[in-house]
Amino acid sequence: MKRSRIPLLTTLLVLAFFYLPIGMLVLHSFNESRFGTRWQGFTMKWYERLLERGDLWEALVHSLQVAVVASIGSMVLGTFAAFALQRHRTRLQTTHRMLITLPLVLPDILMGMSLLLLFVALGVQLSLWTVGIAHITFCVSYVTLVVQSRLQDFDFQMVDAARDLGATRWEAFAKVVLPLLAPGILAGGLLAFTLSVDDFVVTFFVKGPGADTLPVVIYSMIKKSREFPVVNAMSTLLIAITFVAVWGSQRLTTGRDS
């Protein structure tokens, strides 16, 4: 019986398909050519240009501020939600589950549009805060999923035991449930952080003037000022940070397993 080569070949092609565009981006960030079409010699000038851009640093700070608010907010909401969904099987939880699932499938543009209308209808001034509220909204579902998977083999009798021993509801939650869930909550928070930093569409709809996050500035650099080589240089830096972070976390986790 011969085994088909198709799965192996497709996988290799898919990996090439995934990494080639990223490789080209990195290569072009060192290209002298303004339009990145032909190779015209090695240069670092786009990186120097990047360092001069104060607006990018300001946008990065905005992105990080929103991401911190979004991850803390969604960690709190998501942990309670996961606990309720996992512990109780009632009609209320069926509705609750539907509410939690909806943001996972709702296209970004609809979420951005509907939140914009809400803020406009309420007369709320758009700012970095409205962006934070929007980000919490789409992050809650992801945190809930991650924490729920951690709760899968959680023994709820421990909560009852703590209550029987005289703990109040909050003591039982804070001293028994939270410590056991901490790794799941942190993993969910990290996911929320990355989702928040990456988001463009929702942010674009609900951001206030002067509240540009990094993706919003990148978008206007691509779309309006067309500073392609500078975007290449920044992309390369961001990609490098991502790869180092992944490599680091891999080392940490494999180190713990062995």
Partner: protein, 283 residues
Amino acid sequence: MRSKAGRGEFLTTLPSFVWLLAFMLVPGVLVLAIAFRTTNPSGGIGDGWTLSQFRVFAEPSIHVLLWRTLWISALTTGLCVATALPVAWFLARVREDWRPRLLLLVIVPFWTNFLIRVFAWNQILHSEGWLARGLRAVGLLGENSSLLYNPGAVVVVSVYTYLPFAILPMYAAAEKFDFGLLDAARDLGASSARAFGSVFLPGIRKGISTALAIVFIPMLGSYVVPDLVGGTDGQMIGNKIAQRNFSDRNLPSASAMSAVLTLMVLAPLLLRRKPRGDTPDEP
């Protein structure tokens, strides 16, 4: 014990329930309501009620746009699932210690900013890029035709951005599949193709249906990809919503279009509800 649960359940459900009610369900209903409002002179929400925001859906240009949105989404979804199938198979059969590494290779590019990944393609498909020049040199691309700014570019870049979302659920299903069943089918006389079609595909159908939904639904609301690589011929309904909102400053009109998009999104979700019930019992 059950009776005690009441207050605890209420307290733990309240925060997320109220938050999502206020910032998802209410805004969603608001979109549907504002779609029926008039536009005031500054582009905001007027006082009167009207059906005129939906008049635009009688125009042929919108039909073209809706149809294009549907076929680009369907084609992208089909290509993603078709490509993810052999990859999921390979990942599920490869040596166990290789799997986490290969999975990581699949996921890592997608921790790079979404806009940057789309932008990378902008340069690859550029009319003066090496790919376009190479294709012109061998006569596969006409002198004046471009790889960028057409529906094809939207499909390629969309497949690039959504493929991992198809691979992951299909791998998760394939990993649980008992490949011994395929040998059994062949021992019983089935051809390899028959075993694949009648045993493997039904075996991972949950993964396939998740992949279909996870790609198709967000694709319907696609905005950034057609905006950056689609050009005028590659625009989708999402671009029209953004245009009505940011350029034309007509919130009620943008709401009407969002309402129609919401219906398009909910339709497959409601259809998907049924098969979910017949989950086979896990041993």
